[in-house]
Symmetry: C2
């Protein structure tokens, strides 16, 4: 991609009303554009990173048996009235609207009710279970405040998986699998080390739910952390009882801020009973399906990576998530030979399968191009100029040193780096 | 995929309120589930086909220089007031809702306004143009009636590309490219032969827009068709003037019903002027950006394929769009040897990279399995039973004959078929 043709150039200043690091950096670097408070457009660079995250999450969900579906955003009241969740006092982030007929409908904040309803059609016997359905679908939440950039928005893509099991044992087994899949996702997203399995409040069915909390000052949540055991406790359930159950003491934990990047929840029969989702067991007895839900917002995950992977100059993407693999900078483009050489290198990279962002701008200083590269945060910066002669200058985004090498050496190095 | 574990089994009867062939067949075959009038969930089979269509469209949009973005669904009134499109009397399919603050917002029916607004930030000079942005994003339309299944829904994914050019000449050149890309898309979607470039009403900027109309009795549009020249005229502009311009006569056209599967539109400066989207030309003069828009709804496209590719027994998918490549049927599964053999064949196909739907159900008759295979419409049906011995029985969905062959012969045949 030639930078001169890219939709989404860098900006010197972030909009004044953006206070979060993720929104400031992603806006300045040309990844996103704020359309209103809590609603962001993904520009090409941002959409590329989002797509890579979605791909990772999808792979892990398919690996544990998830089947991908896609439900509607528009919701009829009847289903939510059955579970008592239509009322704005129960779900206070509903957006509601009307059909021309006057019928009130809602914009999905979550999908337990409609999916359970669909499953009543396909689940009747114990032979039909277990089943796991997931989707990447828009959620709408009428948040009172949206000041944290992509961390809390009024509209966002969410991966939500729902498990449908015969009994608690089957649920427990899948829950454990999902938990490991979540760890793999955060590992692959570059936040494995800073993300903790966290005890959080449960519900009627289970004492606790589990959140995945990434330690970060920008987080809205307060958690108590034990680094040795790699677990945390959400402030909401941080009490003598939970400490006692874990066989640990207050001194074992330190308080810190964290971002909830995922949560998994044993729903039990909370939705299956009111929505009439039953099956016949092997003895022919009618039993309610035992459910679980498992959520990750790829947009919030992207923002969390930016919050934990940046310096004063810009974003520092993990190699597998960067929008492009190589940021190629051409300098001294007024010199015909240099211009030809960098165009040749660009072609060479592209035909070798390296995905390149090529800063081909002619009216921009070297300093500005390097600053933009730091802001955008692609791992490998390659410079071609009069000075580099028949070599290329390589600089890693997370290092200060530069290195001159020929094209073949660089190509081999990139291949070895699994780029 | 084992059919016994698939979310979305076949149903004997379609819901009584479904009158369209696409909704009846797709529901009965387990591709979709109606959530409310005009809102459908895609089940795993349906989602797979939708994904393949999206992939084709994305490839063709990237090939003509499109950059993928993703805008918000929630819309602020200000932008639409500038172009005069906020009023329900102008766009009569708006869904509108409110923030907690009381501010009225809308659900996107289309995205000219917000994208033009975004582009004001990135377009200032003639050097920035042309640019082409596209997305696959939800559109919401408060349709009065939704009786045509996936052909007209209240919520749907739409691919919308917008072109931003310096002048009419540049727009015309891109418009021509987009037109050819659209032909390729419909060709790859298996409806190339029945889809006609159609003259439709234009606007202030151009006399005509172009629709792509697929001839089909289920269509809501009436068009006048010339098969030799492969063009059509929408009823709305079928008059002496257009016939005269085309140098053709009334007798050259025959009336038929058609489904609008795509449209391309020269917008000119209709949105750029009110939204202040200008650039400086090479002489430093301020000029309005000249726009075009190019839409395809993958869900409607899917429905159109079903409407034009089915018989009385079910769907007949084009090979490249079927949810799975092979429908493998195991019969006589009470016989341990046959059960082992079909499981072996299933493994063999999967490890060879053939994507298989394996009907492994033990309590279903052969007749029912064959009927389900016809309904689901996967091109290659392979049966393993006691009777087939060490051979496999192959039947194509669009043929009546069956053929016995060994696994290697079948595999080679599939490879040759580019499956």
């Amino acid at each position: 991609m030639r930078y001169s043709q890219l939709i989404g150039r860098t900006q010197k200043e972030a909009p004044k009303d953006e206070v979060s690091n993720n929104a400031r950096l992603l806006t300045r670097a040309g990844y996103i554009h704020k359309e209103m408070a809590g609603v962001y457009a993904f520009l090409p660079l941002g959409f590329r990173v989002l797509t890579k995250l979605i791909h990772i999450i999808r792979e892990e969900m398919v690996a544990i048996g998830g089947q991908e579906v896609n439900l509607g955003s528009l919701q009829i009241p009847e289903l939510w009235q059955k579970t008592g969740r239509w009322d704005d006092s129960v779900i206070d982030v509903w957006f509601k609207t009307h059909l021309h007929s006057g019928t009130e409908i809602g914009l999905a904040t979550t999908h337990e009710e409609p999916l359970s309803q669909i499953m009543t059609q396909f689940i009747s016997s114990y032979k039909d279970l277990p089943l796991y359905a997931f989707q990447f679908q828009l959620k709408f939440r009428n948040e009172l405040r949206s000041k944290s950039g992509l961390l809390r928005t009024r509209e966002f893509i969410m991966k939500d998986l729902y498990s449908f099991c015969k009994n608690e044992k089957e649920l427990d087994e899948f829950y454990e699998k999902a938990l490991h899949a979540y760890h793999r996702i955060f590992e692959r997203a570059g936040i494995g080390k800073s993300t903790y399995l966290t005890f959080a409040s449960g519900g009627a069915f289970s004492k606790y739910s589990h959140e995945f909390q990434t330690v970060c000052d920008a987080g809205e949540d307060t958690v108590y952390l034990n680094e040795t055991k790699k677990i945390a406790i959400n402030k909401e359930v941080y009490n003598a009882e939970v400490l006692n159950e874990l066989g640990m003491a207050k001194d074992d934990f330190k308080e810190c801020k964290a971002i909830e990047v995922g949560n998994i929840f044993k729903l039990g029969t909370k939705y299956s009973i009111p929505l009439n989702l039953y099956y016949s067991d092997s003895e022919g007895n009618k039993q309610p399906v035992v459910m679980g839900s498992y959520g990750i917002g790829p947009g919030r995950l992207l923002a969390t990576i930016v919050e934990t992977h940046h310096d004063e100059n810009g974003i520092i993407w993990p190699k597998n998530l960067a929008p492009h693999k190589i940021h190629l900078i051409g300098l001294n483009l007024e010199d015909e030979n240099t211009k030809k050489r960098v165009a040749f290198i660009y072609e060479k990279f592209e035909t070798s399968g390296f995905d390149v962002l090529f800063d081909d701008r002619e009216d921009i200083t070297a300093g500005q191009k390097f600053a933009d590269a730091d802001l955008i945060g692609i791992p490998f910066r390659v410079t071609v100029s009069k000075r580099t002669g028949d070599k290329l200058e390589l600089k890693l985004r997370n290092s200060e040193t530069t290195e001159l090498m020929d094209l073949d050496t660089l190509t081999s190095k990139m291949v070895l780096e699994h780029v």
